[in-house]
Symmetry: C2
Subunit: 358 residues, 2 copies
């Protein structure tokens, strides 16, 4: 068995659960390496780990697993009513993922598997996933590296007169041609007044001289995500934008310094909120979020979350200021927490950047 | 109030439910016209219909609704704890959609809305959606019409040496440029031996002379789907393929004739299964499925479903034979059931078609 499944079995023992049904495909991938597209259910029973899937995925799943994983793969068509009833025989308590099963499935599973006590597991796998191992960090680092190189490519590519969509298409093409599995999320390219909306979608608007351009993008590498934002400028930087840019950058840099094992998420977030308030602005979204197999995962970095950071969490640091009807600035890196500080997995320049200068 | 919501309120009365929480975005769209992307929850309370959504969707939602819809739109941020507790005050039974709510949400809603009896509604909206009104049929007809014209375009476009992906990209482009909202599902273009897999994904394989090409495709028009499959040939038709093609076509045509109000789905499916068996083949997937706002919806057309067809159901008729390692043939139309027969909403030719003949 691999170390993640071993960990889960220990955890279940501690919780007095004799089995678990795992339905979240990301958690199944985390535990087994099985692709999230090979739909199925992972059973942790007293004696075995069993992946129940559809016939058309079995070849793929078997190609992913090795004998060391200790997982039996079965076509759901080959499972009898008796088999279902025997999986959790002699199990008093069986765990399930309450946010990854519908109410209808909950009732169906209770009945089909003849479960005595079906117990919520309160995101224990998502919480475990917060701490990344070396393999995971290496994949996130690779995803960030491709993202950095893409950004570098964009600095030559972006010209006044191009549309936001042309730029976002180029990002997709670059990722496709440079070793990424795909996009980590829908790319944001916003220019001019569109930068004032934090979740802008690329439009046919053309880049004009003096436009700020917010690019929020990331790719996947072996399933792991990167997430980076830069706000750059076309031709020149309007004077009124500079103080806002400086304020965002100052806070982003200060946060990079403050991040380390033991730092309190609430306090870190409050410091940025307070500094923005002091200057007449406010932080209208979270300061960041965990990054891993999902683009947004635990821990959430905002002033409601009164917990401490731990070594090998990977999170974003993305303060932003948005002035409705005018412009917005956001600067974001993906960052690994260490015992005594943090490692910035994104290395792209954060000072003023002007593209298409002449 | 529109007629769909009126129907729902009557139905709830009959079921002795005084309210309902609707969470399936397709059902919300069906009842209100609100876009499926404007995430939210629809409450049917004693006195009001309330759509609770996120601030960023409110403008869009209000632009969709008219005063006649009788729906109040609210930002969830403006709803207090008391508001939640008052929505279903004096309601003994409140319905919910058991397959569109997680177990976690189920518990959260019970608590937040202080619901006495939270009752499963057993897909009553999905069942109601089986019968299409004039507006819905007109939209499906339009989607089928665009699909027919796309097929006609492909007959000129497809040449030996092209890849499957090139053809599927052309389909997407055609839909995009000819009035469709988008794809109804991921297009299947399979050629040669790839046609032996019913759910093939377009690859970089080039079309060779004598290849059968299965094209299974459809678009959306005002949210409604079309679904059509043709198997055509590049250059010439290999002799060994013809008997299989003829058998599939014969059954597809016979089914078209048999479909009408009152026809039994199980019997219709059995007839095709039996005829295939008689010739040494088998029907390895359903004969068809309902089509509407979703590409696959009720009723499912297979020999396990012992129910009668009704007027204004819209379903597919798609027999197929797949010979592993050799080739496959599938022919599919989208069909409206009428009192005395059926109307084929797809009009493309189903006889032998050869493209790039010389």
């Amino acid at each position: 068995m691999n170390s993640n499944i071993k960990w889960l079995r220990e955890k279940l023992k501690m919780l007095d659960m004799q089995g678990m049904i795992i339905t979240n495909p990301i958690n199944i991938h985390y535990l087994t390496g099985i692709s999230v597209s090979a739909e199925g259910v992972l059973l942790i029973t007293r004696k075995e780990n069993i992946y129940i899937t559809d016939g058309r995925y079995i070849e793929d799943v078997n190609a992913t697993l090795t004998i060391d994983d200790g997982i039996i793969v079965t076509d759901f068509k080959d499972i009898s009513k008796d088999d279902y009833e025997n999986f959790f025989l002699f199990c008093e308590n069986v765990g399930f993922e309450e946010d990854n099963i519908t109410y209808g499935q909950y009732k169906e599973y209770m009945h089909k598997y003849r479960i005595n006590n079906f117990e919520e597991t309160e995101h224990m796998l998502e919480k475990q996933r917060m701490i990344k191992d070396i393999y995971e960090i290496e994949n996130i680092r690779q995803a960030c590296h491709i993202t950095d190189r893409c950004f570098n490519h964009l600095l030559d590519f972006i010209k006044i007169g191009m549309t936001e969509k042309e730029i976002s298409n180029e990002i997709e093409k670059y990722f496709d041609e440079n070793g990424a599995d795909g996009l980590a999320f829908d790319t944001i390219v916003a220019s001019g007044v569109n930068t004032s909306k934090p979740h802008a979608v690329p439009t046919d608007k053309r880049i004009g001289p003096g436009d700020p351009i917010t690019i929020d993008f990331g790719c996947k590498y072996k399933g792991y995500c990167s997430d980076m934002t830069r706000t750059i400028f076309a031709g020149f930087i309007p004077e009124e934008v500079k103080p806002v840019y400086n304020l965002v950058l100052k806070n982003q840099l200060q946060t990079c310094k403050d991040l380390k094992e033991g730092a309190n998420i609430k306090i870190i977030s409050k410091m940025v909120e307070n500094d923005f308030k002091l200057h007449g602005y406010s932080l209208i979204h979270s300061l960041g979020h965990g990054v891993g197999l999902e683009i947004h995962e635990l821990p959430y970095i905002n002033s409601k979350n009164d917990i401490q950071l731990k070594e090998n969490m990977v999170i974003t640091n993305e303060p932003g200021i948005y002035i409705p009807g005018q412009f917005g600035i956001r600067i974001e890196d993906t960052i690994q927490i260490t015992k005594f500080g943090s490692i910035n997995l994104c290395t792209s320049d954060k000072n003023y950047i002007i593209v298409d200068k002449n």
